[in-house]
Amino acid sequence: MNTKDIKDKINKSFNNSIPDNFDNILLNCKKKEGKEKMKKIEKEGTIKKAKNKFIPKLSFALALILLLTGVTYFSYSKFYQVDSIVQLDVNPSIELKVSKDEKVLDAVAKNNDAKEVLEDMDLENVDIDVALNAIIGSLVTKGYIDDLSNSILISVENKDHEKGEQLRQKLSEKISSILGNDKINGSVLSQTLDKDKKAEDLANKYGISLGKAKLILDVLDSNSLLKETDLVDLSINELNVLSESNKTNLKDIQKEGTASTKSYIGKTKAKEIALNHAKVSNPRNLEVDFDADDGKIVYEVEFDTSKYEYDYEINAKTGAIIHSHKEKSDNYSNDIDDYDDNDDYDYDDDDYDDDNYNNKVNSNKNTSTNSTSSYISSSRAKEIALSHAGVGSPRNVHVELDREDNEYSVEFTANGKEYDYEINAKTGRIIDYDVERIDND
């Protein structure tokens, strides 16, 4: 008997032990709900007239539910048309079409990251509050919003500006509170969108949301050296960082909180890297600021000595020198631009391509039948996970083959973290993985 047989055996016995009492459960839920609703209404004092002692409380509550359901159904057809458009930008960009009674009629992923966030979430006809809760939850789970990148932009479009403004205020408060519940100190940018030809053109040109286009235009206005192409690929947090650094005047955008710069090396470190590289110990007129170059956030470090002027661009995340420039300060034209083409120098560790494993694994086998022989071995699955995690000596390793799903589950701990991989048992491809810090011990 294998593990799956054991599972089936236990599952069957449990299922047989449970009489079908779903209707009873549902009735109890409704009863409770009815009581709650009635309590609430009584509290608000709106149904004093209806407090007839001849009507038993419970049947009244049930009648109320029927009535409410009826009303909901009626209004459903009445409101089944788009009233507002709500755009959410983090880096994932999501557009929600919302009806008059604030239900989501459609949720559209506007970029690939958004597809991952929405996955197979079915938000149709869900209250906008609930939908936001689900989307933000997914953004947090998937690591798009955290302490390192805490900004989100919400843009509301409604023909009636006043109504749009009300919804904007309500939703931005809701987002702040959801983030607060997750103990994330977020920065929520919000705006009500009106006709803006320039922003529409920019949005269409780069396939970004109108809301993000408006933010980019504001940032461009504050720094004439920036180009559109420097900014369109930036996340909202990165744009938020730049706008704070440039003291951008956010025209129509309301803002709460400050952008997180925790994923960056810091001005002191950037300065140190530049000075070390230039072999300068007593710089004059030293300035360090955030800047953007071709979709990356960089530190711009400028200083001079008695003889030269220096200008560095340093990748704010990795500390890599992207560009360095040195010239004689007394117009003695002797440019040294030796590091100019160093854009390829990049420490980003997410360049990993797990298709490599596919190739390796596939070349090792030649059949694709359904038998166990077509599975990669459990030690191979373990190896794939460890190599991806960059872990040499794991503890608590657990590898399990799920034959129904054709997946290996590989779990282990190392360096105070717990790793959890799901690996396609046939191709060796990593389907999903999760790393969590261990809280205790």
């Binding site: 236990i10 599952n11 449990f14 449970i18 779903f22 549902l26 409770k32 519940n181 129904e404 969590e436």
Partner: protein, 177 residues
């Protein structure tokens, strides 16, 4: 997915949650079908009484229905469900102890109406495994929780959960060779 009952997919369950929060009764029924055996089994592990476990299961579903709007969508719905199940079951035990400390009775342990084979299965599960081993087996095999999630719920080290899980599987394999 070939068989919905076989696989507890987190995304699927979260989608059901979304629908339940919009008073979708069919979604609630589907959730019931998918999760009842995990909730019942886990309750039985703690309460060791069939009727009480059924009651507990019912209360868990009511609690889910009531609190669905406070659920955080972070891909761990079964974690949430088991945490509710555990907390309600422990409340029951506390209340019970105040009244009387009754001995475990085989007649109340298992549903008397099920087949001899099913009775034997549950009996072995209850007798040959320790409480912790049984809870781990149910949460991992039936509830599809990761070992690390179980470790969090049971407040144990991951290594402890893993070794208990392996020991339990070994025991059951021996029993049901």
């Amino acid at each position: 997915m070939k068989n919905g009952i076989e696989k507890l997919n987190s995304k699927l369950i979260e989608n059901l949650f979304l629908k339940i929060s919009q008073n979708d009764e069919e979604a609630f029924h589907e959730l019931y079908t998918l999760t009842k055996s995990s909730i019942y089994g886990y309750s039985l592990s703690i309460l060791k009484n069939h009727e009480q476990s059924l009651d507990n299961m019912q209360e868990v579903f009511i609690k889910i229905y009531e609190n669905i709007d406070s659920y955080k969508y972070q891909g761990k719905p079964m974690n949430w469900i088991f945490t509710i199940t555990k907390s309600l079951a422990l409340t029951k035990i506390r209340k019970q102890k105040k009244i009387t400390i009754s001995e475990i009775d085989e007649n109340t342990l298992i549903n008397p109406d099920i087949s001899v084979e099913d009775k034997a299965t549950i009996k072995i599960l209850l007798e040959s495994l320790s409480d912790e081993e049984r809870q781990i087996i149910i949460m991992h095999l039936i509830g599809k929780l990761k070992h690390i999630e179980i470790a969090n719920i049971l407040e144990m080290k991951l290594s402890t959960v893993l070794s208990k899980y392996h020991r339990a599987i070994k025991k059951l394999k021996e029993e049901w060779r």
